[in-house]
Amino acid sequence: MTNKKANFLLAGVGGQGTLLASDIVAEVGLRQGLEAKKSEVHCMSQRGGAVTSHVRWGEKVASPLCEKGTVDFFVAQEMLEAMRWLEYLRPGGTVILSQQELPPTGTVFGSAVYPDKERIFTTIGQIAGKLLALDAVGVAESLGNRRTANSVLLGALSAELAEDEQPWLEVIMEKVPARHKEVNRKAFLAGREGAWELGD
């Protein structure tokens, strides 16, 4: 275990599985003998709204929420959400970004404009120490199940943490439905290996 202490933020859109992914991160921390806390908001946010989940590992953890500017690892499941919660990132922190775009309804019926890719990358680049921009959905789809995109991201995260894959795989296998275990394992490993190549 190299990181005795870490703050994580996971952000996505209702329905993307943000909460399950963050449950996995918290549980992995616990398995390594650390204290782990996690916090999220249910309900309204799940009807297609923005969803975030904070996870903290440490010898001792008080607040279940990360303070803005202190997140070491920011996993964004969607491009716009990466921008929305960027202020939580510690300068020099790592961003693991799924290059998926889900325009909110306001950009369809209203005049709101989805930020362009260029602007998103530059803004993140100004503060992040490392940006891993993954085509997580594409990788997941090529493995036969687009809903395993989160496992791809978690694979990349585990590699960034320079950690043993075992506790991660163990927890993922416990938390996903039996019939999706194998494809999630593949997705996790794909994310884990690919993370290095896609680097900054």
């Binding site: 859109v13 916090s39 999220e40 249910h42 946010s45 303070e67 716009l80 202020e87 019926f109």
Partner: protein, 594 residues
Amino acid sequence: MDKALMSGNEALARGAWEAGVEVATAYPGTPSTEILQNVALYDDIYSEWAANEKVALDTAIGSAYAGRRTMAVMKHVGLNVASEALFYASYTGVNAGLVIITADDPGMHSSQNEQDNRNYARFAKAPMLEPSDSQEAKEFVALALALSEEHDTPVLIRTTTRTSHAKSVITLEDRETKEKRPYIKNPPKFVMIPAYARRRHPVIEERTAKLRQWAETCAINTIEWGDKKIGIISAGAAFQYAREIFPNASILKLGMAWPMPEQKIRDFAAQVDRLLIIEELEPFIEEHVRQMGIAVEGKSIFPAIGELTPERVRAAAVEAGVLAKNGNGHTPDVGALPIRPPVLCAGCGHRDVFWTLRRLKVTVNSDIGCYALGVLPPLESSDTIGAMGASIGVAMGMRHAGLEKENVAVIGDSTFFHSGLSALATAVYNNTPIVVIVVDNRTTGMTGHQGNPGSGETLRGEHGHRIDIAAVARALGVKHVYELEARELKEMQNTIKEAQKSGEPAVIVARTICVFETSHNREPYIVHNDDCNGCTLCFRIGCPAIFKSDELDEKTQRPKAWIDPVQCVGCGLCYDVCARQAIEPGKEIPVMAA
């Protein structure tokens, strides 16, 4: 000893099981809902959803009178509904232990207000405990039940969204079963006629005095000594932020919100140079401490509005000069971003109703549930929303006052049974000409799809008795009762007009689909690019499955529509609104015979 990562809500359920609770009741409401859902996983506990919080608490009180350890659960505003029961139970006391959980929602993540229910403890003269993490949530249930039995009082536990939904580690223990306490008839204790209630009041005052004494020495009001330049009194989730932001300060943590340990507070205050109170929402502790004649700072520094967070606590402390600025204060410039509010799901039947109401241009007195999302753009077809069941009464009042426009009340099935019934009876009794549309999706959608009297599905997964809403309306004396499928837009529009003409109370049961419960049995719809001219009509139903495509119409230079086949569930509203027949229905999916 086994350990597990649990949310506060899971831990409260576990605590109920370990402490020998036998009966548990609730009405769902964020952030409390998962407590009873988790209790229901323990076969040793009888648990049920009531039609509303008052019924839930009355039922729990009866169970405690009869001698079983009992838990009642509700969200903060639910305790408003149940407050009648809380007040008499405080006077009668209990027999076996009774714990009442109120889950507050600072920040209003999913509520209509952020009332601070610690006030109910003082108001109703019942003790209240306040956990700050999952382990405490679990332990405090057992403690509350023991206190309840020892002091003959209902005991409140207050959680907040943060303590209810945050996960932390708890230690698992075994269940301790309790003998049933016999019920012994005792009208002077259990019957609150004035003559007996007058005798109970002094008993209650004496009880509070004893509990205050208990609070002085109990293990849950603790001091963590540190640097004595700053002393902080804190409780609940706020305690965790206080600990985080002031790692070296001395902290008096109050696990018991009411009554407060006055001597302990005095002793603590005497030993620190500067006394701060960090508490979420109201200055509840602060006012009490100030009343005791102690110099204290709280809401002059820390916000009284909204949920606290570590950065809000830090920013307030820095601003007040209590803390030096640290390096975290950078903010990346992300520019203006489109908001992402919650929306009605693709295929949600409520969209049909609000689309129709928008076209009719009526005033809409709506209510609380998923259908409250009908107020947001682009549907924007609700005028008033207050609290559960308010729609019908407010609609009647608007009629009495001679509102210039036609108005309709819109209420969900769960909300109808929660608090719509007596309002409807009032309308019939006074022959008030209002139109009530019950948007019946056969589930309590907003809080995560619980059963209700209209769906018949019980908390423990049994198929109970489904109450027919139209039959209820007829039985209450409504002469104009209509039943229809909201998906049939023309029929719904005509029926609303007809009901308005009747000049008497009318109820329209609009059956809608909750896509979490059942499906439209259709494949995704498809936009034909040749026929679409980018007119934007289908954009205005606010369906999350409809997007602007990359292709522009040659003439209008507007983007054509595109339907995401992953999100579309085949409801067909876009097909109904499209004026150019540019949308092709998905094929019907044959329903498998069971």
